[in-house]
Structure formats: C-alpha cells, structure tokens
C-alpha cells in the first residue's frame, strides 16, 4: 500500500538514541522498537518537572534540547544545587528503577524539549539488556549515595562506610555525636579528666558556671599531657587554668570538607560546632577521617611526619590522585585549588625544615616566597615553580657574604628537591636559585620601586607574577613587610596602575566565541579556546590592579574580589557574578586537565568548544560577559588617566 502511515520508528528518535549511552549499545531492531514508544514534550524554562518525594515519574525523560537543574530543598527550605543536565542527559531513571518517588527536584533552566520513554518500556530494557542496568547502576553510585544521605539527614543519624563523597555533601552538623560534653569552668582538672574518661572522649567544652550555654573554653587530651602532667600542675587546680580560651568553631551547616580545610590550615583538631549561636557538639579530625578512606588529610599528616627529604618525593606524587578524587567527588574548583595549596605548602614546609637541619640554621632570617599562581593559591595539576627568597639585610659585608653563600646553596638544593617531587623548573628562571631572585629586603624593595616608578609596558607583563607573592616558609613577617611597602608605593603611583589596567583591557573577552569562534587561528591549538589567557587571566589581572590600588593584602583572586566587594569598591552583585564565573572556568579547566591526564597527555589550557555542552557554552558565555563588566569598571576608574 502506498501511504506510509503509523507505527514506523521515527528516524529522529532512532538517531538521537543511537548517539547516547547506553542506548547506543542496543541492536537495531530493539532500538527501533523502543523508538516507537517515544513521545516529545516541551517544558518552558522555569517548569518544575519533579518535586522530590512527591512526583511519581511515569517516563524516562531524555533531553533533546535545553537543560535542567536538579536540586534538593531541605526541611528548612534551604536549597542545595546538585547538578545541571543538558542535551543527551536523562531524568528519572533512578526513581523508576528503584520504584520510588522522585529523589530530586528538577526544574528547567532553559526551554526544554524531551523525549519521553514510558516507564514500562524503560524497565523492560533494564531487565532484558544486561549492559543497560549496569550502565545506570554505575552512574548512580553517586546519586544513590546522595539519596541515602538525604534520607539520613532526615533521620538525623550517622552512618559510616566507604562513602568518600560524604566529605562534600555531609554537613558537620550531621556527623557530630550526641550532645556536647561539657563541664563548668570552676571544676577541677581532675574532675574534668574523670568526665572525659567516663565519656570516653578526647576533648571537653568548658562553660561559664553562671550560664551553661556560654562556652568559654575547651580542653583536650593534649592539654592534660602538656599543661598538667608534664608541667607538674596540681590536679586540684581549676580547669580554667589549662583551657584554651578561643574555641575554634565551625558552623553546623558547613561541609566536612570545609571543617577539614580549617583544621589543616589552623592546626586545630577539635572544632566546636555552632548552630544559631549555640555550640551543639565537637567535630574532630578523627571523626572526619573516619568518613574518608584515602583522604587528603592522611596524606597531609604523612608529609608532616617525614624525617628524610627523599621520603617526600613519593608523597608529592600522590597529590594528583587526591585532586582527581576531589574532582570526581564534586568538589568546587576553588576548594580544590585551596587543597592543592595546602598540600604543596606542606611539602615545602617539611622539605625546607629538613633542609635547614641539614645545612644548619640560616645566618639571617629569611622567607621563601611563592609567586604567580602558587602565590595566589590557584594551582591546578602540577604547575611550574615560581619562587624567590627574601632575607633580612645583612649588617655588614662579612654577613652579606655568608648569607649569600648559605642561601645560594639552600636554594639550589631546594629547587632540585622540588623537581624530584614533580614540580617542573620555571622556564623563565624565576626561582630562588637565580641570584637575581634571592636577595635581601632592601634589594627587593628597590625592585618593586623600579617596576612601579618607571613602568615599562613590555616588562610589566613579566613582572606581574611578582606582585602576587606570599610567604611559603620562614619568617612571614618579611613578606608582610614587603606587601605593606608595595601597597603604600602602588597606591601613590597612579601612572603605574594605569599601565597595568591598560594591559588588563588588552585581553578582549571572546564574546562572539560561539558564533565566529574567537579561538586560536593556527598552530597546534587551532580552533581551541585558551581558557587561561582568554578566560581566567582577565579576572586575575582585574583583581590584582584593584587590590594594588586599594591596598588589599590578599593574593588569591577570589579573596581579593571578596575584600574589594566588602570594602565597597565593587558591587556585591558584581562580586557574586565574578565569583561564579571564575569558579566555573576553573572547574572547566580542571575537568579538561583531568581528562588529559587520564588519557596520558600533558595537561594544557586549550579547550575545544565543540566538546562543550550547550549548557557549558551558555555558562562560559555568561562568564565572558562578566569580563566585559570588569573592564567597564576599569574604564571608569582609570578614565581620567
């Protein structure tokens, strides 16, 4: 018969399905049969498709065009964004397979067309196609954990296991045990120790006898050992004599990851957990380590315990693995960069400590400076070394000679060790072993005075990395002093800032990127976008110029922007947009580099726009628009010059 009516499998669906996992594994016949059951629906932007715990999904939704976000709203109305899903992604597989209501809230973030596959047809595939079930189970592992986690939160109980990603999803308030154990500050040391023994705990909060909600201090096992037994203090003394008065706190809704970062950066291992101004418990590094198998924290501790420099080599090689895990667990780029800095700093600190033991104490105080991205705490996977040494001005020629010799040897050895740890040499020789960059305070001040006083646009680009210095090891007061000097200098030198601002604006945001592809036109990276110079650098430069102008001491780009916003130099709204845009680009770069490392190629910054999803393109485009706004701020500020 002539007319080609009814149930032919529509080609558009077959074509779509054969391009996405796991449907691409189906044989042709099955694929066509499945396609026959598919319908198309359209959901305008803003449509709520699923409500967690309420919606009973009747179909598997496959996004043909558009994008959705998934999120969770907790009992207190607080919203946690889970992820964005774009074209080719599915919605509803997990609740269909488990036979439950929707586990997440789903809302369209763009006008979205979906292919709808009836629940029964999907379940039939799950049952009959072995690869099928496996695919979904694998990609669920994270989602299942998240679901388990929300159920857990609802029931207010703790559970342990191999759930590595708890570090990022679990809030501190969820892992604390029972109510906080505490004792009045007029109790004796012995009474306190007995309470700790009875409760089998390693720390005890101390409250004001007049108000047991008012926490005035904390004691730990270590205090009993160091301040009582070792010091021969009378056990009858008041516990207030040995308590630590400033109780470090963490908000109950902080993630365990945040708590861990705080512990690692402050060296305090017992944090009081605060909710609505009340202390509701204590979280310790041990509690968090129990959540975390191969944790950044255990590596951190292991580094600190090394007695030989050579012992650091293999440990530093573990850092990329840790980063990889963090990315896979869904950590934010900003957090990852901070974690990388902490671990690298720990390696450096241990290495230079051991090196000092080997060479004997330095003749004068010094500070090991970290420059560029290390200085800004923005490293990704292994980045080149950028470092320098600043030391106290020697009082005479003899001391100058000794200092010069000591620090040359010291720097030579340190740089070699760093290379062995996997930090490549700086091709521009901006390293402490270069005599030019191993100098006393007065010389460093001259350097900066020169760069600022008689700015040479050519040179400017090469020296910007020096402006992001921070203390890596040694007497940090030397770095602080230099920073203070620099800020005073630069706020007086408008002409220099003007040059710097011009350099900033020289990098055009690739706004028309998606239409005409402002990407590299030739060479190896043809048609690729250099996310570092085109995307991230404008933010870094902007933050640096304004930080210098307003004397902000921070070096980290996001911290600089945050301070600038808090001090009212940029609007809160611009800070929020810039924060989001910068973090998004860092994330994109990390994922790109991770993929390269897993493929066995060297990580670079060249992103292929063709490989981005529509949603990623959209977000990237929006972040480029923020760059235009930053340039607008610079134009206004430096218009007069």
């Amino acid at each position: 018969m002539s007319a080609d009516i009814h149930s032919v499998a529509p080609e558009v669906v077959v074509e779509f399905l054969s391009g996405i996992m796991p449907f691409d594994e189906l044989d042709d016949e099955v694929l066509h049969e499945v396609a026959r059951h598919v319908r198309v629906d359209f959901f305008p932007k803003g449509t709520r498709l699923f409500t967690a715990g309420v919606t009973d999904p009747t179909h598997l939704y496959l996004i043909q065009r558009g994008g959705v976000k998934s999120f969770l709203t907790d009992d207190e109305g607080e919203v946690t964004l889970k992820d964005y899903r774009g074209e080719g992604s599915y919605i509803g597989a997990l609740p269909i397979i488990r036979g439950t209501k929707a586990n997440l809230d789903i809302e369209m973030v763009e006008d979205t067309f979906c292919f709808l596959l009836p629940r029964e047809v999907f379940l039939d595939l799950i049952n009959r196609q072995p690869g099928f079930a496996q695919y979904y189970l694998k990609s669920f592992s994270e989602k299942i954990v998240n679901t388990a986690y929300t159920e857990l939160r609802r029931h207010r109980m703790t559970r342990r296991g191999d759930e590595e990603m708890y570090l990022f999803t679990m809030q501190v308030g969820d892992i604390i045990k029972a109510t906080p154990r505490k004792i009045a500050s007029n109790a004796s040391i012995q009474e306190s120790a007995r309470a700790m023994a009875d409760y089998r705990i390693g720390s005890l909060l101390i409250y004001d006898p007049a108000d047991d909600e008012n926490i005035v201090g904390i004691i730990t096992d270590r205090d009993l050992r160091n301040k009582v037994i070792a010091a021969g203090l009378d056990y009858k003394e008041s516990v207030s004599r040995i308590m630590t008065i400033d109780v470090a706190t963490v908000l109950s809704k902080s993630t365990c990851f945040d708590a861990l970062l705080k512990m690692m950066s402050t060296g305090i291992h017992h944090l009081a957990v605060e909710r609505k101004g009340r202390i509701i418990g204590i979280v310790t590094s041990h509690d968090i380590m129990l959540l975390q198998g191969t944790s950044p924290y255990s590596l951190f501790k292991e580094i600190g315990k090394q007695r030989r420099i050579q012992g650091l080599y293999p440990l530093s090689q573990k850092i990329p693995d840790i980063i990889r895990n963090l990315i896979k667990e869904g950590a934010k780029a900003g957090n990852i960069a901070r974690m990388i800095s902490l671990l690298n700093d720990q390696i450096l600190e241990r290495m230079l400590t051991l090196l000092e033991e080997e060479l004997g104490p330095p003749p004068v105080d010094y500070c090991w400076l970290l420059l560029g991205s290390e200085g800004r705490r923005e490293q990704t996977f292994k980045t080149d070394q950028d470092n320098a040494i600043i030391y106290v001005d020697p009082k005479d020629d003899a001391e100058a000679k000794v200092a010069h010799e000591y620090f040359s040897t010291f720097a030579d050895k340190a740089i070699d060790h760093l290379v062995n740890c996997g930090y490549p040499l700086c091709p521009g020789e901006i390293m402490a072993r270069n005599p030019k960059w191993c100098q006393p305070v007065s010389v460093w001040k001259d350097y900066f005075a020169n760069w600022i006083g008689t700015p040479d646009p050519e040179e400017l680009l090469h020296v910007t990395i020096f402006f992001d210095f921070r203390s890596g090891f040694g007497k940090s007061a030397l770095a602080d002093d230099l920073r203070k000097y620099l800020n005073e200098l630069s706020s007086r030198q408008e002409i220099y800032l003007l040059h710097l601002a011009r350099e900033c604006m020289g990098v055009r945001a690739p706004l028309s990127f998606f239409k005409s592809f402002i990407v590299n036109k030739d060479g190896e990276h043809r048609n690729k976008l250099d996310i570092k110079t085109k995307g991230l650098t404008p933010f870094v430069n902007f933050a640096r110029v304004l930080a210098l102008k307003y004397g902000v001491r921070e070096t980290n780009t996001l911290s600089r922007l945050h301070v600038l916003s808090e001090e009212g130099h940029i609007s809160e709204e611009l800070w929020a947009s810039a924060h989001e845009a910068y973090e998004m680009q860092m994330q994109l770069r990390l994922l790109h580099q991770l993929a390269q490392i897993e493929e066995g190629t060297l990580p670079d910054n060249y992103i292929d726009p063709a490989q981005l999803s529509d949603l990623e393109k959209k977000m990237l485009k929006e972040s480029f628009e923020v760059v235009e706004r930053l340039h607008g701020v610079l134009k206004t500020l430096f218009a007069a010059g």
Binding site: S2, A3, D4, I5, H6, S7, V8, A9, P10, V12, V13, A35, R36, H37, V38, R39, V40, D41, F42, F43, P44, T47, Q64, R65, D111, F113, L116
Partner: protein
C-alpha cells in the same frame, strides 16, 4: 453551518467525508488543549498557482495530550494530474520516479482523513495547505474537510507581539515568520526543510513551543489558544 449545507446539497459526498463531517457535528472550543488531538501537517505542491497547481506530498504527525506522538505519522507522495512529474521536483527532495509510482489524490485523501480523525489540523501558514487540501477534496470526495485548523504562523505572531509589548511597548513588524527562521529564533530542534513529513515535525515542535509559551503558559483551553493567536475570525472551515 450554512456553507456546509450548500456543499452538502451540491453533490453526494464520499463516505470518508461524511464520516469526517459527523465527527465535528458538536465540536466545541471550550475543552482543555490536552483533551484535543491535533494533526500537524504540511503539503508539498507543484507550485503556488491556485488554479493549476496541486499536492504532491502530505506529511503529518499527531499530537495527543500536547505531546508529539512520533510513531503516529503520515507520509505519502501523490501522483499529480496536470503536471509532468519531471517538472515538479525542483524544491522538493522527491524524485520523478517516486511521483510516477505514487497513488492518486483520490486514493490518498480518504486515508489522510482517516488518519486525521477528529483532530484539529495544524499547519504553518495553514490557509495555503487548507486551500489545496479542500480543492482536492472537493474534486475527489465532493466536499470540504470539516476539521478546524490552527495556524502556527498566527500563533507565532501573537507570541512575538506579546513579547515585544511586554518589553518595549511596540513591535517590529519586519521580522520573518517563516518556519525556518522561527525555528532558529526559538532554538527548536531542527529538521530538514522541504520534506512534507520533516516540515510537519518541525511545525509540531513549533506548535508545542507556542502553545506552552503563549501568555506565559497561561493557555488552557482551545478557545484561549485561538484568542491568543487572534485568529478567532479565521478559524478554518476552508
């Protein structure tokens, strides 16, 4: 009513047409959009000369519950009467061979009407398609089809007017309303143009988009849809 009676008295219509008329005896606009069936269709023609040109292919897809039923499609070629098949294939991706072996419009129309059933017909600039469909139907079946029609071009106009009035208080009339440009503008999934079925699918996506975006999603009944497209007076009966 009166028009229909005139045609009714003119000649005894084909049974397919009689059935088609019965389906719309008590048609009402008051129901929910999700309760109606729509058949989105497109015809390819030998040309646009109303007197001598004719249909050479029909493509259609059904919409139920405001979802596109991709497996319920209609697609067929029609052997033209007046024109050498070799001449009619300039714009279309149809070979003369396909046309020579295609059934005649007399064979195709009853099948198409059967496929349409009680659905409303949807098309882009639907009055042209309706003209040629009715012209053929009058000749072949002895009367016009009764299915009311909806024009996505008018809906698009209504949508865009609503949009610019919201934002600027005025409206640029110079914009293009052809199917291709609208699909691009609204970022719809794309189909290959100049194939009746693909164009029908493209129009179906456009229809879905407009039905749900008009009045910020506030359209619930068919009547509201007509009002929003400002096409009350043009509700198609031919």
């Amino acid at each position: 009513m009166s028009l229909r009676d005139i045609f009714f008295s003119f000649r005894k219509p084909h049974p397919a047409l009689e059935k088609n008329r019965e389906l719309f005896n008590d048609f009402s606009q008051g129901g929910l959009l999700t309760d109606y069936h729509f058949v989105v269709f497109d015809t390819e023609l030998t040309g646009l000369n109303k007197r001598k040109d004719e249909i050479i292919s029909i493509g259609a897809v059904r919409i139920v519950n405001l979802q596109i039923e991709l497996s319920q499609t209609f697609h067929c070629y029609v052997r033209p009467k007046n024109i050498d098949p070799n001449e009619a294939t300039l714009v279309h991706r149809i070979t003369p061979e396909q046309l020579r072996h295609a059934p005649s419009i007399e064979e195709v129309l009853p099948e198409f009407l059967d496929f349409c059933g009680d659905a409303l017909l949807v098309g882009h600039f639907v009055s042209i398609d309706m003209y040629f469909l009715n012209k053929a139907s009058r000749k072949a079946l002895g009367g016009m089809v009764s299915n009311p029609s909806v024009d996505t071009m008018r809906l698009a106009r209504g949508f865009k007017e609503g949009q610019c009035i919201d934002h600027f208080g005025g409206c640029d009339q110079s914009e293009s309303f052809n199917l291709d440009d609208l699909s691009e503008e609204f970022n719809l999934p794309r189909f290959k143009p100049h194939d009746a079925l693909e164009d029908a699918l493209q129009t179906a996506y456009l229809f879905l988009f407009l039905a749900k975006k008009l009045k910020h999603g506030g359209i619930r009944t068919l009547k509201e849809l007509y009002l929003a497209g400002r096409i009350l007076g043009l509700m198609g009966r031919g």
